[in-house]
């Protein structure tokens, strides 16, 4: 490996991306410009660098031109960096001696109408990329074993589904439930729409399957008190009534669910004449009192307000379902639903909504600025079409309250170092691209812990999370990009632990070595954010491929 500065030979590949780049920037000028940059020994323009032809050109140039650094100026590293990296690797060059310059997403597409300015900016970007490339150093990817055992937090329908899916694939599962029995919210429900399956029967079936499964260990009345380690090598303390057990774990699924908001002080809630939808489920399960003839349901109680701005989205379908069940049990009863907007997503829900209207459920829109008034035997509501208040007689008022985040969600988020949103629900890695993963590798989520979900969605998410969690379990090992924090100057480190306290991933720890207390980077857990390097007052820590002098070189190149 040439390490003297004069031996550095950089190849620059300029991608036209069809007309995506070449249509807006002066490619010939860029080529001329790149040739004059320090250490650049080879420049080539391709129509598509990512095409097979383009890739082969890179490989060929590495061999023939004896290149030891490669810079591709093209689209975006988000989609194409892995491809170019591996191509360099195939040609025998360490993949981390590759640098990518983004001249499409951040340049040609932005400056479509300013060719000259855009070209100047592209020159800046290429010059900076080349300056950094000259200082790149080879890295080796990091491998780590994965303990083939999953931890599932929460034994509701989400957790049970995920556990069963993982266990059926042959992995050991440890299922933690804080209550005495499994089942979670399912135990309190009556019938599940749209198939009107019996919730109790479903719960029994799942509980039986889980408790009888040879691969699943269930801890009830238990909670996790300490989580150490990282993907593949977690070490978890589980506290039960009989003491603390410590188990090695490979992946973690968070399925702690949610709970129904109790509307204390709202609409005269008393749990008897004014109940929540969850309590309604129980009333229906036990058989509704035949005296109940007039029922009024009020939607959005305690949600979509300042305190809880979100729509809990499953309360509408629950209300419609229960309205129809009330009409079924007491055929001469009258049910009115007072709503703000009906959230009836999906084909079946929409059908059920239409069906309910046909079956005589009444819908009255109300304005949150002028909410319904619950009095002893009537509910007064302003009817927007009549343009006046109307009184609805009632025997029972049902309040549709939102699902709110589980008790102790914050505690779990701190234990696992995963984020929760402003409503206390767990925050997925990406709302569309990684909906069942956390940003932290090796931890997954499903069900109402993430956002209010009905049983059907929860089951689907449970299966999905299990599927995501199976990937590292099936591989048995993980490979991590080596663009992580390193203790570059061991002598400088004083083992003060400042960085340890700030690391968002728990990827740093202080160890006692022969040289005294020194920080140690747990490479598998590190995500390379660089907070530690920017904080270390001894400048002992650095980030691979983003070292201080590489960034400085880019800065200087920018100012040239």
């Amino acid at each position: 490996m040439p390490d003297k500065k004069e031996d550095i030979r950089i190849g620059v590949f300029l991608c036209h991306c069809g007309s995506n780049i070449a249509g807006y920037l002066d490619m010939e000028e860029l080529e001329e410009f790149s040739r004059k940059l320090p250490h650049v020994t080879f420049v080539l323009r391709n129509l598509y660098t990512c095409s097979e032809g383009g890739i082969n050109e890179i490989k060929k140039a590495i061999e023939e031109q004896n290149l030891n650094r490669v810079v591709v100026a093209s689209c975006t590293p988000r989609t194409h960096e892995p491809l170019f990296r591996s191509s360099c690797g195939e040609a025998g060059l360490n993949p981390y001696l590759f640098e990518m310059v983004n001249i499409r997403d951040q340049c040609s597409w932005v400056h479509m109408k300013e060719q000259e300015a855009g070209t100047t900016k592209a020159k800046d970007l290429i010059r900076m990329g080349v300056a950094k490339a000259a200082l790149l150093e080879p890295q080796e990817p990091i491998m780590s074993e994965v303990q083939r055992r999953a931890l599932v937090l929460g034994g509701g329908i989400a957790g049970m589904t995920a556990s069963l899916a993982l266990a059926n694939r042959g992995y050991e599962v440890v299922l933690i439930e804080k209550e005495e029995s499994l089942g979670g919210m399912l135990n309190n429900l009556n019938k599940l729409s749209p198939t009107m399956t019996d919730a109790g029967a479903l719960a029994d079936e799942k509980i039986k399957a889980v408790t009888g499964h040879v691969n699943i260990t269930v801890f009830t009345k238990a909670k996790v008190t300490e989580v150490r380690g990282f993907i593949g090598k977690y070490n978890v303390d589980i506290e039960t009534e009989s003491g603390v057990t410590t188990i090695d774990i490979g992946v973690i699924v968070v399925s702690t669910g949610g709970r129904a908001f109790v509307p204390e002080g709202l609409y005269g809630y008393d749990g008897k004449r004014v109940v929540t939808q969850l309590e309604m489920e129980k009333l229906l399960k036990d058989g509704l009192d035949t005296d109940i003839k007039n029922v009024v349901m009020i939607q959005c109680v305690g949600s979509r307000n300042e305190e809880r701005p979100y729509c809990s989205r499953i309360c509408c379908q629950t209300a419609v379902k229960n309205a129809m069940l009330i009409r079924e049990q007491n055929p001469d009863s009258k049910v009115s639903i007072l709503y703000r907007d009906m959230q009836m997503y999906g084909v079946e829900n929409e059908e059920m909504f239409r069906d309910s209207k046909a079956k005589g459920v009444r819908y009255i829109n109300y304005d949150p600025a002028n909410p319904p008034q619950v009095e002893f035997d009537k509910v007064r509501v302003y009817h927007p079409l009549f343009g006046r208040d109307m009184d609805l007689p009632v025997d029972l008022v049902v309040l549709s309250t939102p699902v709110v985040s589980q008790e102790g969600a914050e505690e779990i988020s701190q234990l696992l170092r995963v984020p929760i949103d402003e409503n206390g629900f767990f925050l997925e890695g990406h709302v569309k691209l990684k909906p069942l993963d956390f940003a932290t590798d090796g931890i997954f989520l499903c069900g109402s812990a993430r956002f209010p979900a009905n049983i059907r969605e929860t089951v689907a998410q449970g299966l999905g999370a299990a599927s995501r969690a199976s990937i590292p379990l099936a591989k048995g090992s993980i490979v991590v990009e080596p663009i992580i924090s390193v203790l570059a100057d061991e002598d400088a480190c004083r083992g003060c632990g400042l960085c340890v306290a700030l690391c968002p991933y728990g990827a740093l720890e202080v160890r006692t070595t022969e040289k005294g207390r020194k920080v140690h980077v747990i490479d598998v857990a590190c995500k390379g954010c660089g907070v530690c390097a920017a904080t270390c007052y001894q400048h002992a820590l650095s980030i691979n491929s983003f070292t201080d002098n590489q960034i400085e070189a880019q800065l200087e190149a920018f100012l040239d």
Partner: protein, 557 residues
């Protein structure tokens, strides 16, 4: 010589040499030094005494390793007592905040330490950091941790002022209030009436003026009030069964009950003689300084913790003190000082109740709405806050003219200066350097008072110049009502005969300073009934201390 034990105080050069000498002579030596290292105060490295110097450097290692020498560094003498020819010394050995066995003298701590302080070893010529080394030869380090900020130290309950004022600056008003309530359950009331020793101590006064610590307390309490937030004083889930009786619902009693309830005690009963809570806060402090509604709210918050307050229950009349002691696991006496002292001038006893009303009774009647005759002029005698309160209250009640008579000058007046100014501003006539001589009467009622002018003589025991009457300067003020507001005393009649409690010559209780315990097991006392008339916040502190003492006592029973 075998039993001879020697204590050497001071680990400087002489101390070390003396220790070696005594030890060689066969004595058991203990050498004590207030700094963390032997060999005197920190000596700069370039001024270390070298072996060839005129001074002989004591052999520190020999002292450290000597079999019959015990080295106590970073220690303080707490108490020395002599008994039967034997001297016993109590020494507090403080622990170092640096583990010197692990320290490798890299000085990194000095470089990063953000706390700069004047170097007391250098007569404050230079700065040093809070972490510092002492003898550079031995490289012993320590962190100097100040105990508390001056304001917190000055506050009798040690309110975490630094934090709550900072929280207000951060805009976290309710957090700030929670910080206050951790120690003080009456922020709104105390925030209005406290004479704030904290502000007197505040370092900011040397730049411009002290931080308004007291009113900031009132401010956050008012923020809560204005936002119409009804707080709940939390009690723990685990309840404790012991029965506790508290005499007096004043600041001491209420605070004691509050802190006990926070420990989980659920059988707390407060016995209050008056029909209202708050003690002197209610019947002594006028409405304009502390609105009753506000005080009631704060008392209700405490009562809602499950504390029973029995009003109109006078101990010794409705319940005997003996029964109280028998039926409860612990008793706290916070009865306060509700007995006005007399003037001791001729005519006083004769017209008692016929125009002469002591200030405690006067203020109480006013606070409880009892009828008071407000015809004619009012004379208040005294210079404390109670005198000013009486005068300002009297002015508001409609007396034609209100006088305050004080023996010394305005400078010596113990009342808060802003109160004096307010009284004068309102129209109260304050006559300084004047004292009563005789109460005059007509038809069985007070008709006026003979006074005499005074001048200031030599300073007395309290350091204030003693007022001396000017002979022949007598004069008369016509008045229908005279309120002596000299001082108050505790009324301990309720204890009955043979109570067995230690009472001192000021007619207050002798208690254990740390726990509030009296000489009788299970009986605790605090507040004015122990200290004599004092400020409310000190009663709060006594209540808190007693609550801790009671908790400790009940848990170790």
């Amino acid at each position: 010589m075998q039993d001879k034990k020697v204590l050497i105080v001071g680990g400087g050069i002489d101390g070390v040499n003396a220790a070696l000498e005594k030890a060689e002579a066969g004595a058991q030596v203990t050498i004590m030094e207030k700094f963390p290292t032997l060999g005197a105060e920190r000596i700069p490295r370039d001024r270390l005494i070298q072996p060839d110097d005129a001074f002989v450097n004591p052999d520190l290692n020999k002292v450290r390793n000597h079999d019959s020498i015990q080295v106590l560094t970073y220690s303080k003498i707490k108490k020395v007592s002599r008994d039967n020819g034997k001297v016993t010394a109590h020494i507090l050995k403080q622990s170092l905040r640096v583990d010197n066995s692990k320290c490798n003298d890299c000085k990194a701590c000095i470089k990063v330490c953000p706390v700069n302080m004047f170097d007391d070893f250098d007569e404050s010529l230079s700065f040093r950091t809070a972490v510092d080394y002492f003898n550079p030869a031995t490289g012993e380090y320590n962190i100097f941790k100040e105990d508390m900020p001056v304001c917190q130290q000055a506050c009798p309950v040690n309110l975490d002022i630094r934090t709550y004022v900072g929280q207000i600056a951060d805009g976290k008003h309710l957090d700030s209030l929670a910080t206050i309530r951790d120690r003080l359950p009456l922020p709104g009331s105390i925030g209005r009436v406290c004479p704030h020793p904290c502000e007197t101590a505040c370092n900011r006064q040397y730049i411009d003026e002290p931080i308004s610590i007291c009113f900031l307390k009132r401010y956050v309490a008012d923020v809560e009030l204005n936002k119409e937030i009804e707080p709940v004083y939390e009690t723990p889930e685990k309840k404790l069964p012991e029965k506790i009786a508290i005499i007096g619902a004043g600041p001491a009693g209420l605070t004691c009950a509050y802190h006990l309830a926070r420990q989980g005690y659920e059988n707390i009963t407060i016995y209050e003689t008056l029909p209202v809570p708050g003690g002197y806060l209610w019947v002594g402090i006028p409405e304009y300084r502390l609105p009753k509604k506000l005080l009631q709210r704060e008392v209700d918050l405490i009562a809602n913790m499950g504390i029973e307050i029995q009003y109109n229950k006078r101990i010794g009349k409705d319940v005997s003190f003996e029964d109280l002691k028998k039926n409860n696991d612990a008793v706290f006496i916070g009865a306060g000082c509700h007995l006005g002292l007399k003037l001791r001038v001729p005519g006083e006893d004769e017209y008692e109740g016929k125009g002469i009303v002591d200030c405690v009774t006067f203020l109480r009647d006013q606070a409880l709405g009892n009828p008071i005759d407000t015809k004619g002029k009012l004379i208040v005698i005294g210079g404390g806050n109670a005198a000013i309160d009486s005068a300002r209250v009297g002015w508001r009640m409609g007396f034609d003219e209100v006088y305050i008579l004080y023996r010394r000058t305005k400078k010596e007046m113990p009342a808060n200066p802003w109160e004096i100014d307010a009284a004068e501003h309102e129209g109260v006539i304050i006559q300084y350097l004047a004292a009563p001589v005789e109460i005059l009467g007509k038809d069985g009622r007070v008709s006026g008072m003979k006074c005499i002018k005074m001048e200031l003589g030599e300073p007395d025991a309290s350091g204030r110049r003693r007022p001396v009457p000017i002979e022949g300067s007598e004069y008369v003020i016509d008045a229908e009502t005279i309120v002596p507001a000299l001082s108050q005393a505790a009324n301990l009649e309720f204890l009955g005969e043979d109570h067995g409690l230690d009472i001192n010559r000021w007619n207050t209780f002798d208690i254990d300073e740390e726990t509030g315990a009296t000489n009788i097991q299970g009986v605790f006392a605090g507040g004015d009934v122990v200290t004599g008339p004092d400020i409310a916040i000190r009663a709060v502190a006594a209540g808190k201390k007693a609550a801790e003492g009671i908790h400790e006592y009940l848990r170790s029973k």
